[in-house]
Structures are given as structure tokens and as C-alpha cells.
Symmetry: C2
Subunit: 232 residues, 2 copies
Amino acid sequence: MDVAIVTVGDELLAGRTTNTNATWLCERLVDRGVAVERITTVPDRIGEIARVVNEYRAEYDSVIVTGGVGPTHDDVTMDGVAAALGRDLEEHPAALAWIVEEGGYAREDLTDGTADLPAGARPLHNGVGVAPGAALEGVYVLPGVPAEMRGMFETIESEFTGQKRFREVVVADEPESALLERLEALRTEFDVSVGSYPGNSVRVSIESTDEATVEAAAAWLRERVDSSGRGT
Amino acid sequence: MDVAIVTVGDELLAGRTTNTNATWLCERLVDRGVAVERITTVPDRIGEIARVVNEYRAEYDSVIVTGGVGPTHDDVTMDGVAAALGRDLEEHPAALAWIVEEGGYAREDLTDGTADLPAGARPLHNGVGVAPGAALEGVYVLPGVPAEMRGMFETIESEFTGQKRFREVVVADEPESALLERLEALRTEFDVSVGSYPGNSVRVSIESTDEATVEAAAAWLRERVDSSGRGT
């Protein structure tokens, strides 16, 4: 299973907010064996959201969209997804009822549009805030506020499953360029994905869907690198 | 001037690294009056990089690409950009000479390919690490290691200029939904962009290319919201 994540928000594109929502979602999805193929941040503009959601919907199994789903004029995430799917936004009676009955909000205090979802969508309840999310045709719309996004994702997490990948990290206190032949040999000897990340030491990441293969590959490499901790 | 940022890296898509490079670049670009229209993270795969770089090159004034530019097999950023531009990778003599003369590396210690750039590219020197970046046809390739990326961006920063935008933030200790009419009036009265970000208080962001307009709009709103600090 592969997914794309679309994070909507001018504040992300202005560098005022770091995209920790994407990091959190990726970590949870990868833990479930799901591959994340794209993370894209788009402005708070309906047409831009619709275009990217439609492109990714055609290409990946699911698209997770996070962004403003509240009542203000810049909360256009739901509008963008509705446009992508060619649906109108409609008040969802069950979503509205949930907010009143479970959320404890008086119906008359709710802003018009709070429970508007693309026609035909399944509502996703917001256990932390007010505005609901939505799921429809492989597109999931979650709030941009991190606590709300996390709480809502946990209610749908079981819908994301893939083949679990195993991973080990070998730390080498050598320059990355010195490791090239051994990394190449590692990839030839074992059926694993290898990534190397330089820093004070080089972190070599070894991944596979087979746990024993990863362990064997990591052991092979550990015997062949300097891990004295003296640094490079 | 508008730009797109492409951040290359499996470690970002796995949620092991948060994309602080994008945050930093956006902040610097927006400070210079440049609009960032997209931030997209793609895997360490040449074809995926090439596809996204080409799409954005057609749409925006510049594309800034960050990712692995070192010597290991997963450092495919330069290959992806070369593919996007239909160029071969070639050793750039001046980039190589710079690494040896300014970087203090012995030529024989450098891994083959260290100074390979798309044919015709201008080399960008790496004052912090080794591998150079590249600039060609509006595409800028920077390293993924944050310190190297930042140092290199500062050497090209003056090539990014736009119309400076001014911004003020008004904090309101009211529920966001209670503010709707005043935010709408603010947008009608003044020619400004308005964003509202809920939290313990609501932060209302007011932006325009005219400083006096932003100040007047912020003063107008401050007179009309509860900013007692009592929270919502």
C-alpha cells in the first residue's frame, strides 16, 4: 500500500511552522508497513488543493490531506477536496449530531458550515476539537492542528496496512567516501535497501521485509566497519 | 518571483527526519519577498526527482532542490536533476579545483563523481562539506545536510528577490468562530491577506505589500478583539 500526504497551509510555505504533522504521519504509516511516496505542501487555495489531490489520487492507493477544516475563510481544505472529487459540500447530519451529543456543543453556537463535508463522505469525528474530518474514495481529510490530526488519525489507522519492513542502523566512524565499496558489497550480498547518512559518524540504514536478512546484513557490516567512536 | 522547493530523501518519507530544511528556506525566501508555492518531498529515485523538477520548472520561476549530493549510491539528487534537464553528468573542472584548492582535499582522496554536475551547470561551492551544488536553467541543487545547505544558499541568496510583504499578528482571546464577522470586515475594509490560527488564543496574521495598510488593519482589529490574556 502506498500513500501521499498533502499538507495545506500558507503558514508552512512561509516558514512560520515546521511540518511536524508530516513527520508524525510518515512514522506511523511506515510502522504499519505503508510506503509514503510524496509529501506536498500547497497554499490555502481551493484550486491548488484540488489539483494536487486529484493527481495523487490517480497515482497512489490513498491520499491523506491535513489542513484548516474550521469555520474561517482560510480553512479551505474541505472545499479543495470536494472540488477534486467533483462533489458539493453538504452539512452532514450525523457529524453535526456527534458534535452536539458527544462534543457537548450547543447547536446554536456552532458556526454555519462546521459540519459541511463533501457529499457522500464518511465523517471522521474530532475528539480533540470541533470540526469533523472526512473519508471518501481513498482521500482522508484531517485537521491541521496537530493534536486534532493525531487523535483523528488514530481512529482510521487500522485502514492503513502494508508489508512490515525491518530496519537496523550500523554506525561507522569513518568518512562516508571510505565506505563505498563495503556498502556496495552489502547490497550485492544481501537483498536489502541501504541508506547512508553522514554526520559526525555515518549512520548506515539497512532495510528489508525479512527480519533475518536485515539482522544478517547488519552483522556482516558491523564486522567490517570502524565503530570505535573516535569519530571521522 | 515564485519558487518551488523539492526535498529529496527516503528518511523524510519514513518520518525519521523532520523537514527543517524546507522551513528554513521558506523563511529566508519569504523574508526576501519571494513566494514559495510548493514544498514536495520525493524518494531517492532518479525518475521521481526528474518528474517533479520538470513539472515545477515549467510552472515556477525557480526550483530549489535539496538532497544527497555525496558519493554514495543513494545520493541521486544530481542524477535526477540532470535527467530532468536532459543533460549528462560531467566532472566540472572548476568545482574539482575548488575542492582541492579551497577545501584542502587531496585530489586522490576524492571519490570519483564528487565533482560531477549536469553538463553546463554553474557549480555552487560547498563551504561546509565537500560535494558541490549546481545552478542551471532556474534549478538550484543544494546538499541535504542542513549546515551545508544553509551555507550554500547564502552564496546564492541574492538571486532571489521579490516584493517585500509586511505582516502583523493580532492575538485574540476569543473562540475563532466568534471572530468570523470581524475577520470578514477586516478583509473588506483593508486590502490585506488574513490568516487565523487557533490555539489557546487565536493568532490573526495580517499581510500586505504596503506597510501602512498592515499597521492600520492591525490597529483596527486590536481595538475590536478581547486581548485580555484570559484565554478562550
